[in-house]
Symmetry: C2
DNA sequence: GACACAGTTTAGAATCATTCTAAACTGAGT
DNA sequence: ACTCAGTTTAGAATGATTCTAAACTGTGTC
């Protein structure tokens, strides 16, 4: 995105999260925070940023995705052991996972009601509840 | 387990699942199906079987765990991207995952009620619902 | 505007769980 | 005992991710 208005928005977004803005971090933010929610892998982000005019190394993609996650700009979603997804929707919600094509779809938090959850073991507190609804193709 | 009664039980269990019983498969079954439910990784099973008198290669541990999973004797639980857990409890239930020590604890199915789940996208059907409750140490 | 230095980026090596390969082995039926 | 599909194996290969150590860059200081 060469749009200077966009650029300022992204810099502000990083600043607000306490992250120093650099050329690479803005390029990645432009891909991730374009207004629509996404589920992406590091490789996908790397491929996308390589197409642009502002190349970023794979190591930096990993570093930055983790940094954004720590800063609360992304959520990590563990769905399959072979790859980690990063979710730009950081609000409470759940996921459909389609095994056929490896894609994730959001389920709004209020579509799922969890009740009667047992208390966590002593010395531990509940951090997050992830509901993953695994899908398969209907063998018609 | 050198107990011949045990041995016959395990062979029968494999047979019933349509799996030919071999020395290796029985040795692994002895570790997995001892009457108590477990959450194990391939490495853990490999370490355990190596201590016994009936060594099994790591490749066979992987092959066999997957075969047992396909046969419905185990369930695969994906909780963290760095390892896969195999669960000897194949009934419907959910999990606490303790990030502090990487351990899994069962949550009985009837402790969690999921309602208002949206319908799966067209051409897909719901295969399984996994609820993972992530725990962290209480910072006291 | 040049200087310094912590923070950042990078290519490539390293890691680690898992899968693959291709050869040796084994069990069930003749 | 003989055969052949099915099984096991060591070690190589894979693939995502992390590490390393060296080069680079942004920000504050004069």
């Amino acid at each position: 995105m060469r749009n200077p208005r966009q650029n300022d928005r992204l810099k502000a977004l990083l600043q607000a999260a306490g992250i120093r803005s650099t050329r690479q971090r803005v390029a990645l933010a432009a891909i991730l925070f374009d207004g629509t929610h996404k589920h992406v892998t590091a490789e996908q982000v790397h491929a996308a940023v390589r197409k642009g005019k502002s190349p970023v190394s794979l190591a930096t993609v990993y570093n930055t995705l983790h940094q954004y996650t720590t800063a609360g700009l992304l959520h990590e979603v563990v769905i399959s052991s072979s790859r980690v997804y990063f979710d730009t929707n950081t609000g409470e919600h759940h996921h459909f996972f389609d095994d056929a094509d490896g894609k994730l779809y959001d389920i709004p938090a209020d579509s799922v009601r969890i009740s009667r959850l047992p208390p966590p073991p002593p010395g531990r507190k509940l951090e997050r509840v992830d509901v993953i609804v695994r899908l398969v193709a209907t063998k018609s």
